[in-house]
Subunit: 328 residues, 2 copies
């Protein structure tokens, strides 16, 4: 056995035996990993489910993200989709397709990152199952579950004219981090460069963390539902684009108040991947948790998104655009 074994040096069973003990258990698991399927409790009689892929290249670069950071982000972003329904996260399953030359210790670090995110963001949640395959392209598939605790799910279509528009979490920080990486952590040919990324971390740790290890306000999802949120979603594609989704689904307009969006309004409206929570509340609601007012739901036959009543660009974030296939 080599001193630093890779996935191709060990059997799937041996690798899983090293990884599974590192994954946070779920307090909702009535049967955990090891059989054909897991069994998860759903005391509400329903469960919330969301699934998401992260693909090396378009979604992350190993030159920029450590395996621990990838585990953290994969867990955090999926927990955020559960929270955005007003549900309490209960469990995750994680399927990995890894290159055969990946060191097994990298998979252990990935598992530790998953567990660290769960423990910080949603400690009752845990990993109940998964799958491990080999591939030329490192791919992470997470499916996350939540319990509604007897409440209706908070969907996109419930915003009402006069509602307060509110956000919990940062706006634009994750996009800043990615811009820094694309500017300062690439080589002369524009390819992701690990050494330059390491130097960038020395001075820009906070903005890089917003991109590489986001900390969405998971508990605020349940708080918003309990407070009567009429619509909610996870901000993954930028405030303006995601607001346009709520506007279209609800048949309303959304008008932001520029005074609430910080010094760089375009950055707050356009930057994606913050995984903050966007929600609308009936007027007069005491905003729960970290929510702050950023605008108002208005009447609009064309479901317009505006800022200070002026149209805003809702093209927003597109994970496909600009993907040049560069790896790193």
């Amino acid at each position: 056995m080599p001193s630093r074994p890779t996935v191709s040096d060990e059997t799937e069973g041996a690798i899983l035996a090293r990884i599974l003990p590192l994954l946070s258990p779920s307090s909702s698991a009535t049967l955990g990993p090891g059989d054909d399927a897991a069994v998860v409790s759903a005391p509400d009689g329903r469960f919330v489910v969301t699934t998401d892929l992260m693909v090396h290249g378009p979604d992350f670069r190993l030159a920029w993200s450590s395996p621990w950071e990838l585990g953290w982000k994969a867990a955090a972003t999926n927990l955020s989709d559960v929270a955005a329904m007003g549900a309490r996260p209960t469990a995750l399953v994680i399927a990995l397709a890894v290159t055969s030359d990946m060191p097994v210790v990298s998979l252990e670090e990935f598992a530790r990152g998953v567990s660290a995110a769960i423990e910080q963001l949603s400690p009752d949640c845990g990993v109940v199952g998964g799958d491990l395959s080999v591939s030329d392209t490192f791919t992470i598939a997470v499916t996350a579950f939540g319990d509604l605790e007897g409440r209706a799910p908070v969907v996109r279509s419930g915003a009402k004219v006069g509602d307060v528009v509110a956000v919990s979490g940062a706006l634009g920080n994750a996009a800043d981090g990615l811009s820094l990486l694309f500017r300062d952590a690439v080589d002369e040919d524009g390819r992701p460069d690990a050494a330059r990324a390491a130097r960038l971390r020395e001075t820009e740790a906070e903005r890089l963390a917003a991109q590489l290890t986001p900390s969405p306000p998971i508990a605020d999802g349940v708080l918003a539902a309990v407070a009567g949120a009429t619509a909610m979603l996870d901000l993954s594609d930028g405030l303006a684009k995601d607001a346009a989704r709520v506007a279209a689904a609800s048949g309303v307009g959304i008008d932001f108040d520029s005074a609430t969006l910080g010094p760089d309004v375009a950055r707050a409206l356009g930057g994606g991947e913050d995984h903050s929570l966007f929600a609308t509340f009936p007027p007069g609601t005491a905003l729960p948790g970290g929510f702050r007012r950023v605008g108002t739901v208005v009447a609009s036959p064309v479901a317009a998104v505006t800022c200070d009543a002026q149209p805003v660009d809702v093209a927003g974030w597109d994970p496909y655009a600009g993907w040049d296939g560069g790896r790193g």
Copy 2:
């Protein structure tokens, strides 16, 4: 717009608008695709969950499988894992990472294959959500759910000395199909070849179908549970290897009766990917559905798997072994 648009020609939203109507709806969905997450009913108060990746290269080749067939197989194999717990399949989520040059019609065909498998094998089930990404490596991630209808899950660890060992479904047919493809559907350099695969289909449709579009006995999972099965699993890695898992988990031995395994016993014991159901039943049980007796649970301090009391090779099927990276 080109006459045969690819994934790179259309937005994610436009592609999803074409695919979603082709996917079977789930009668258990209380909120379907289109929000941050779906909501699925879980009348039992628990749900069964399994996840599985299929990766182009190690798990399938586009030269051999059509998109329709891949959709069928992705659904069928995950339904089988749910059935192997004794649960009724309720819902699937499907995340796809596709190459940017994939025609959108191929994704539509994939969706039609998923729906065809569901309609034939488990018509109450359906697709409640998913994700679509681009990747250099076509990757299919399916997570499947089931309801236990108040019963205990049928796990691997419950087999008792004296139990009848039974199988529902074929043994070795899927491995035959794969052997044919590797022998007759490759070019001079051993690479998968679509034209030769097409010719092979003219004479070997049935054996290829066992590999490319398996039809696991999904309904027999619930029937086995109701009949009192003490252990059950999905036969994905070969009868002998999977029996060894039950033997180890249950602390018993399993002795097969060669007279029940057909003319080619090695093929029945060693061939993987049949997705037949393996179950153990108390002695005297009237075997339900398509189950037939193939052996007996015996006392064995080393959890031995034998045939006519002689040791058998339990190395079985290994999806990693022999993967040469050939694409096609």
